[in-house]
Amino acid sequence: MGDKPRQSSCAAALSRRRFLQSTAWTAGAVATGIGSWVIPAPWANAAAPPIKVGIATDLTGAIGYAGNADANVARMLVKDINAAGGVIGRPLELYIEDTASNESVAVPNVQKLIQRDHVDVVLGGITSSMRNAIKDTIVKRGKTLYIYPQLYEGKECESYIYCTGPTPAQQCDEFIPWLIKNGGKRFAFPSANYIWPHVLNAYARKVVEASGGEVVFEEYYPLDQIDYSATVSKIMNEKIDVVFNTVIPPGVGPFFKQLYEAGFSKRGGRLSCVYYDENTLNINEPYEIEGLASCLDYFRAVDKTDPVSARIQAEYEKEFPGKILLAAGSAATGMYRGIKLWAAAVTEAKSVKREEVAAALDHAKISEAPGGPAEMVPGHRHCKMRMYIAVAKGGNYEIEWKSEGLLDPKEC
């Protein structure tokens, strides 16, 4: 074998030492706070110390595109609020922690927010598994308020947790009858196998049946499944009218493509998906998802008729141009409502103490947010908001329906 192995093992020993050194360095860096950002208050004094707002969101990892949008919205709002004199005469100081799309990384980082930074409120978490992983650290051990901004499956009824994203009732009660009218009665529920689709489907099934439709099949797939030929064949053979999809990326792209190739839309089938926003439009070619219907609290198409939404969107784009969009499916609109509602509650309570803010947040209202005004339903810790049904046409959404007033979350 010549002298090559000896050289290599020598090199390996060296690299092991170097590996250990660099591991030690990285461990040190992580312990002191990689993934933490503080945006200090522009002014503060002894009489008016800053109020600390904690944001725990997925800046890196699989859903980093959403987490960064949430953090951007928080930066924008905190800047605006501080420019207008802060809240109860005190400036806001922003503490952003990365939850890294990974629950085991998230919990220690959220602990930092609570134990090291002593923040007055925490907003964030995008997936339900993330919310479940970090909520105890914030609410129980941390004795801090927690605001969860994402659309989700509902049933989060613990005290001191406030949800500002749409619930199944808000996303299904109007949407499913619309789908039956604009698609047909035979539904299929192809779904990713985790908590949100399971619980949402249980609710959606009731609405489908109450509205005179039927769920022909409900099926769950591994989260990373990317071949859906068996499902597509079933959808075609069973003459399904409406596909109510909760398959998530990366599977959703190939699934919609295979469905298109099999001729589902050509046959008049209706595709629907309640997390589809402007970010997810790019997963497929526009013609593959032509006619896809979604139901959310905000679409960019709303800007045409709602000057407030248009103003907020324009401000966001000016401050954060690029690929990180302010979109409803990323929890960015829920984050907007969350911060505004919380600020309104602090203003009313004239305090940042948890009990007092919670009491005020219970009935907080805001008149301006992307998509329209919002208000908490007293005693239910969920948010009333305006909802929209939009349909994808040529790579953009067109609004097909908007709720008359604010829809009730019907939770807790």
Binding site: M1, G2, K4, P5, S8, S9, A11, A12, S15, R16, T60, A62, I63, G64, Y65, N68, N193, E219, Y220, Y221, P222, D224, Q225, I226, D227, S229, A230, T231, S233, N237, P249, P250, G253, P254, K257, E261, A262, G263, N279, T280, N282, I283, N284, E285, E288, G322, K323, I324
Partner: protein, 285 residues
Amino acid sequence: MDAALNALFEILSFGAIIVLVVLGLGIIASMMGIFNFAHGEFVLLGAYTTYLFYSWGLPVWLGMLAAPFVLALIGLVLERLAIRRFYAVPIVAMLGTYALGIIIRETVRMLIGGLYVSIPAPLVASLVIGGVQLPEWRIAILVITALVMAGSYLLLTRTSFGLRMRAALENPALARASGISTDRIYAISFAFGSALAGLAGALVVPIFSLFADLGLRFLIQGFLAVMLGGVGTFVGPVAGAGIIGVLSAALPWAISPVLADVLVFVIAIVIVKFRPGGLISRGRV
């Protein structure tokens, strides 16, 4: 009849995709004795190259043509800089290539903003046979996979380069004594394996769209295939890939998909239990 034909086509088509992805992985594992944990990310880079061409306004097929060459170059550079230091220590090779994979994956994630990007297929029409729609692009992948497989096989068995490659694998010391530069052979083998990964990525990206974790899913199936097929031959990993691909596409037709996902692994482990060296543990190629 139509349904059966449709099922058969879909299953074969997915099987071909897995074979295509595993080919490069198998060649590197078999010919060089190291597991390239960055293989999935090489597939991703092939897809990303295609995307770059597309975003520059060039035709998609040109990007697909370029991807294997770009990846061969990247493979060559990486082999010279890093991989060659790992040959004597396969465990370090796994960790090293795994780290490399993370670097590539997260860089691509940053470059595409963590989003999913659709890339159109060069062929969008479907052949209609009976009542069955056969997308042309999937047919093209089937054909290209068969050609690449045959080409690689011929390269290894019928050319003098293939002979030297096998010699370097079987007995490196003797090969060197016979005047074969094993260093060069290894570099070229690695570049070749990388090129195959790049081609696979370029061909499948219109089906799965571009996203940072594209390679990850294939990596697991790829390793399962190599484990099942056996290291040390060319045919082994390819056979393994065929079985894994066909199983993972076929089982969801019969049973619940979540169960099918698990069952693929169970079946693979049972086979490996009875044939620990893999399906084809001996052979010349």
